[in-house]
Symmetry: C2
Subunit: 329 residues, 2 copies
DNA sequence: CGATAAAATGTAATCGATTACATAATGAGG
DNA sequence: CCTCATTATGTAATCGATTACATTTTATCG
C-alpha cells in the first residue's frame, strides 16, 4: 500500500535511480531535478523501505543488546548510554533479556544474526569457552560490557582495585572486622574479583582473614538481607559490612533496621555500583561507583568505530571507578 | 560470505523452492528430501536471511517500543513484561528513548516505519491531537500503555480511583492535613487525575481542600524532596504526605530525615507505583501499586492479537491497582 | 561551431528469500 | 500396464531498494 520508489519516480518523471540518488544524496544530481524529486517525496510523504535497502547494502543500522535483565538495577543506565550513542550514529537497538540462561542466549544470538544486526553488545557475568566460540563464529563485531574474554574488546572497571580501595577505606576508618557479602562464585568478574580485592586490602593492612565474616550472596536484595542477619548474629559481629553490589547493601541496611542497629554508628555499610537509589535512600549509601552510563556509551562508541571500519585492538578498556562517601559509613 | 539458500539447494541437490519449503515446513515435501535438506542445513549451519524474507513476506517480526527513559523507574519493568511476551511470539523489540521530546518521538516514529516494524507500543505522558494523527497515519497497529487516546487500545489503571483510595486510606488513619505532591500539570493521565482523586477523597470525607497543602512536582526525586521541605515548613504542617509517584515519595522521606522527623510517627508518607525499591528501603514505603510488568505483558499480548488479525476494540483495558500497606504510614 | 570531456540520467542486474504456476513423479484403480 | 488424480519438485517472478554500466545531456575550449 505505501508508495514505492517507483511511484515517486513516475510522479517526478525521472527514473528510480535518480530518486535513489536524491534519497542518498550521493553522486551528482542536477539541483533542478533534486528539488523536483524532493517535492514529490514530501508531497506523497514517501518513506523508503529500510528492509529493501538493507538487503542490498548489507547493513541494517541496528545492533543487538544482550543483557541479563533490564529490570534489574545497573542495566537500564548502561542501556541508556548505549542507546544515546547509537541514536547519534543512527543505529537502533534490539533489546534481549537473557536471564543468564544459556539457551535463551543461544536463541537470541541466532535471531540477531538472522536479522542481520550490524553488531552486538554483550553483557553477562561469565563467558565460557563455548560461548566465546559461538560469539566468534557470528562474524559480526561484538563488544563486551562488564565482562571480558580474550579476543574481544571489552568495557570494564578494575574490580579488584575498586574493591580493595573500598575495603581499605573501611579499614582506615578503624574497622577491623569487616563482613563481606560476595557475589555468585561462578561469576568471574564481579564475584571472584571483588572478593579478591577484599583479601588484598586485608593483607596489605596486616589484618587476618576471618572466613566466618564472608557470606556468599547472589546480588539480590534477599541474599544481602539474609547474609547480614547471619553476620550480625555472630558472637563477634562485624562493625562494617561490604556488599558486592548496592542491591545487597540495601538488604544489609534493612537487616540492620530490623535488628535496631543504627547506621553508621552501630554498623557501617558499603555497597558497589552506585545505583541511582544509593543516593536517595536514608541513610545515603557509601558505595563504589561504576560509570554505568559511560560504560554503555563507551561500548557503543567503540562498536560504531568498528562498524565504520576502524581497526580496534581487542583489549579491555578499563574505566575509572569512584569511591563515593555518603552517610552509611 | 554466509551461505545462501541457493548454496544449500545446490549441496542438497534440490531447488531453492524446496529448501524454502523445508525451512518454513509448509506445503508438502517428501520425508526423504526433508531429511536430506535438513542434513545440509545443519552441516553448513545455514541461517536464513530474515531481511530478505521480510522483504517478501512483508513483516519483520519486530516491534518498536517508545518510552520516555529506560533508566527511570517504572519503565524497565514494563519493558520486561513486553519483551517476555514478545519473545514468546517470536517478536523482537527495538527500544526507543524519547525523553518526552517531540522531535525525538517524531524521528523515532519515522525510522520505525522505515524499518517496517509490525507494531508499536507507545508510552508517554500526554498524547496531543497532532501526535495521535501522526500515529494513526502510520498504518501500523499501536498499543498505548499508561496513556490513552480516543481510537487507540490502551492499557491503563484507574488513576483517579487509585489515588482517591490512597487518600481515603490516609484519612481513615486519622490524618486531617494531607499534603500532596502532584505530577506535572501538563500530564493528563497521572498528573491531573491523581490530584483529582485526592480532591474526591477529601470531599467524600467532608474535609476542606487546603491549597497550601498542594505543591507541584515533576516526578523526580528532587521535586519530592523540595516539595516536602516546603510543606513541612508550613506553620500548620501536614501529618501525611502523598506523592504522585514513589520517586518523589523517596524525596519526601529524605526530607523528613534531614528534618529529623520520624516516619511514620511524625509524618506518614505514601507513594504511587510500587517501584521495586519501595519494599526495600527503610522504612518500607506504603504505596499504590501499578502492575507494571503486567501492563507491559498485557499490552504486548494485545498487540500480538492485533498482529494475528484479531479485531480488537480500541478501548481502554483498565488493570487493577493495589494499595500496599507498609511501614511508612 | 564542433569535438570532447564531464555531468546527469536511465536501464537492468542484484541483494536473498518466498511463492504462483508449471512440470514431473508417484500411486490408485480398472 | 495405462490413465488420472495426487503429491512433490522445479522455474521464474517478485518484494523495494541500490548501483554498475550505458547512454544522453551539458559544458568547455580550440
Amino acid at each position: 500500500m505505501p508508495l514505492k520508489i517507483k511511484d515517486v519516480a513516475l510522479r517526478a518523471g525521472v527514473s528510480v535511480a535518480t530518486v535513489s540518488r536524491v534519497l542518498n544524496n550521493s553522486d551528482s544530481v542536477k539541483p533542478d531535478t533534486y528539488t523536483k524529486v524532493m517535492k514529490v517525496i514530501n508531497e506523497v510523504q514517501y518513506k523508503p523501505n529500510a528492509i529493501a535497502r538493507s538487503l542490498k547494502v548489507k547493513n541494517t543500522k541496528t545492533i543487538g543488546i544482550m543483557i541479563p535483565d533490564i529490570s534489574s538495577h545497573f542495566f537500564p543506565e548502561v542501556v541508556r548510554g548505549i542507546e544515546d550513542i547509537a541514536n547519534m550514529y543512527e543505529y537502533n537497538i534490539i533489546l534481549c533479556n537473557t536471564d543468564l540462561n544459556r539457551e535463551k542466549e543461544q536463541k537470541y544470538l541466532e535471531v540477531l544474526t538472522e536479522k542481520q544486526v550490524d553488531g552486538i553488545i554483550f553483557m553477562s557475568n561469565i563467558i565460557t569457552r563455548d560461548l566465546a566460540l559461538k560469539l566468534k563464529s557470528l562474524k559480526v563485531p561484538i563488544v563486551l560490557i562488564s565482562t571480558e574474554y580474550e579476543g574481544f574488546p571489552a568495557i570494564i572497571i578494575d574490580n579488584v582495585a575498586a574493591s580493595k580501595e573500598m575495603v581499605s577505606y573501611l579499614l582506615n576508618k578503624g574497622h577491623k572486622r569487616i563482613g563481606m557479602i560476595t557475589g555468585k562464585e561462578d561469576d568471574a568478574i564481579a564475584g571472584t574479583s571483588r572478593y579478591e580485592g577484599y583479601k588484598l586490602a586485608l593483607r596489605e593492612a596486616g589484618v587476618e582473614l576471618d572466613k566466618s565474616l564472608i557470606v556468599s550472596g547472589d546480588y539480590r536484595f534477599k541474599s544481602g538481607y539474609e547474609g547480614a542477619l547471619k553476620l550480625l548474629a555472630l558472637p563477634k559481629r562485624p562493625t562494617a559490612i561490604f556488599a558486592s553490589n548496592d542491591e545487597m547493601a540495601l538488604g544489609v541496611i534493612k537487616a540492620a533496621s530490623v535488628l535496631k542497629l543504627s547506621i553508621p554508628d552501630d554498623l557501617a555499610v558499603a555497597g558497589f555500583d552506585d545505583v541511582d537509589m544509593a543516593q536517595k535512600i536514608v541513610p545515603a549509601l557509601t558505595t563504589m561507583a561504576q560509570p554505568m552510563y559511560e560504560m554503555g556509551a563507551v561500548g557503543m562508541r567503540l562498536l560504531t568505530k568498528i562498524l565504520h571500519g576502524e581497526k580496534i585492538p581487542c583489549n579491555n578498556v578499563v574505566l575509572k571507578h569512584n569511591l563515593i562517601e555518603r552517610e552509611s559509613c
